[in-house]
Amino acid sequence: MIIASKKPIEEIIQEVKDYKRLLILGCNECVTVCEAGGKKEVEVLASALRMHFIKEGEEKKIDERTLERQCDHEYLEEIRDVVDQYDAILSLACGVGVQFTAEKYHSTPLLPGVNTCFLGANEQRGMWTERCQACGSCVLARTGGICPISRCAKRVMNGPCGGSGRGKCEINKELDCAWQLIIDRLRDLGRLDDYEIVAPIKDWSTERSGGPRKVVREDVQV
């Protein structure tokens, strides 16, 4: 899923301070699971902002709403009849949701309430870690199911680099060396000989380098 983290409240206050009527818009998908922008976080943030502005002696209308998804036309339509009541929407969805909402409600300022971080997993309670950089051309079949692009600090395709020590990465002793994990897994799978297959130079045109991407599925189009 998409992992996001809450923006500092000070930054949010700076962004919203000039708007009298604010809708805080949560999303019930990834940001709910990673506890950054779901219904609960909308409530907490709304309360914090109300308290702040009351203390400052400022009158503001701060409402809450959480949609099933902000990356879907259908659910975004649910706020069409109320959107004119607000001077701005503070979206706690990922960057996709913020933009999709902005596209839908062209004349309403849209502000992000979270930082969108990466594609990751809930490794343990309160900790999410990166697993994928959406390169658009998956190599996991060749790397023991562990991604060197998202998990190696140098995205080395034929690793490990010389900085791998005691199974950890040179940039941070807490961080597993992706290539150590790959080698361990290849060994456990009885496929360590595969290590010597040289990974070819990667075609990066399917990742960010190739420009904004699009997936078209004619078979499911209506």
Partner: protein
């Protein structure tokens, strides 16, 4: 291995480039290289003065490429300064800062100055350097850079498939760290670099001689020492403090406690000499190891000590070609 003359080599067609390092290694001499870290400024003297200190005692001089990810004069410009002194530079290139367009372009630039020896590296992560907030590139990795150079040289082709007019004739090296983890793949990793086209290797600094010899034993077991020239990396310690720093702070470094203990066992003012002595002893021991084809002496900001090390280890005078 018996020595061969340059004429014999040329006649046999074994020389792929006009690299002096290639010739010396293929003639069967123990080669000696050293390195020159370019300055954090634009004064060419910072390169040429260092090179002048070692020029009679080494066969080629590596110029490092923004080592430890700290911004410096570029490796290629430093190579040109070395070349213009009539010496043999080794162009170090990391894949951290340049994509495949820039790397291929710089290779052509290097070849246009008849810089004909290079070392392919991935480079330290930028978080170690002075631009921690910068991006890294890593469009290709160090092995793929080796492949790129060989393709450009041997096939006369760019990565994109087009022909190169006057392909770069470059003798290609790679680094190997016998001490990094996991140890079990250190030799397979070397094999992989050879498969990509590496012709010589300069190793990480060796302090754990036993572990290096074990690595070399495994290298010989697979016959890899006959496919690539392995130059043992040596860096003399200036002090016990430096040894501790290398042990604890430098990625991929293996400094045994005995090394620190021996340096700590002599008074501070004599530690530098002790470090030189230890380096000399290590080279003397490793000269006897089958498959060691030479030494890469990285005396960091201590280039003036290279002549002493080379002379005391019987590696002087250098062969003339």
């Amino acid at each position: 291995m018996s020595l061969r003359t340059l004429e014999e080599l040329k006649a046999s067609g074994e020389l792929k480039t006009s690299s002096r390092l290639e010739a010396i290694l293929k003639m069967g001499h123990l080669a000696v290289t050293s390195e020159c870290g370019p300055p954090r400024g634009s004064d060419p003297k910072a390169v040429t003065e260092k090179a002048a200190l070692i020029k009679n005692h080494v066969d080629a001089i590596n110029t490092t490429d923004n080592q430890t990810a700290v911004t410096r004069m570029c490796s290629l410009a430093a190579c040109i300064h070395v070349k213009q002194m009539g010496l043999e530079p080794v162009l170090q290139m990391v894949t951290r800062d340049r994509n495949r367009i820039a790397l291929q372009s710089d290779l052509l630039g290097a070849a246009s100055f008849d810089i004909n020896t290079m070392l392919c590296l991935s480079g330290d992560h930028q978080s170690f350097g002075d631009c921690k907030q910068g991006q890294n590139v890593h469009d290709i990795d160090s092995m793929q850079l080796i492949q790129t150079v060989r393709r450009m040289r041997d096939d006369g082709k760019f990565l994109g498939g087009d022909d190169i007019k006057r392909p770069p004739k470059i003798f290609v090296g790679a680094a190997a760290n016998p001490f990094a983890d996991p140890f079990e793949i250190r030799v397979p990793r070397l094999a992989k670099k050879i498969a990509c086209g590496a012709e010589f290797i300069q190793t990480q600094c060796i302090y754990n001689l036993d572990k290096f010899e074990e690595w070399m034993r495994r290298v010989r077991e697979r016959g890899l020492h006959e496919k690539v020239f392995i130059m043992a990396g040596m860096t003399p310690m200036k002090s016990a403090g430096m040894a501790k720093y290398m042990k604890n702070r430098v990625p991929g470094m293996d400094v045994p406690d005995e090394v620190i203990a021996r340096l700590s066992g002599v008074p501070k003012e004599k530690q530098a000499q002790e470090g030189i002595d230890m380096c000399v002893e290590a080279i003397q021991r490793l000269k006897e190891v089958e498959g060691v084809a030479g030494f890469h002496i990285m005396a960091i900001e201590w280039e003036e000590k290279v002549p002493e090390i080379v002379e005391r280890t019987g590696l002087y005078p250098r062969p003339q070609i």
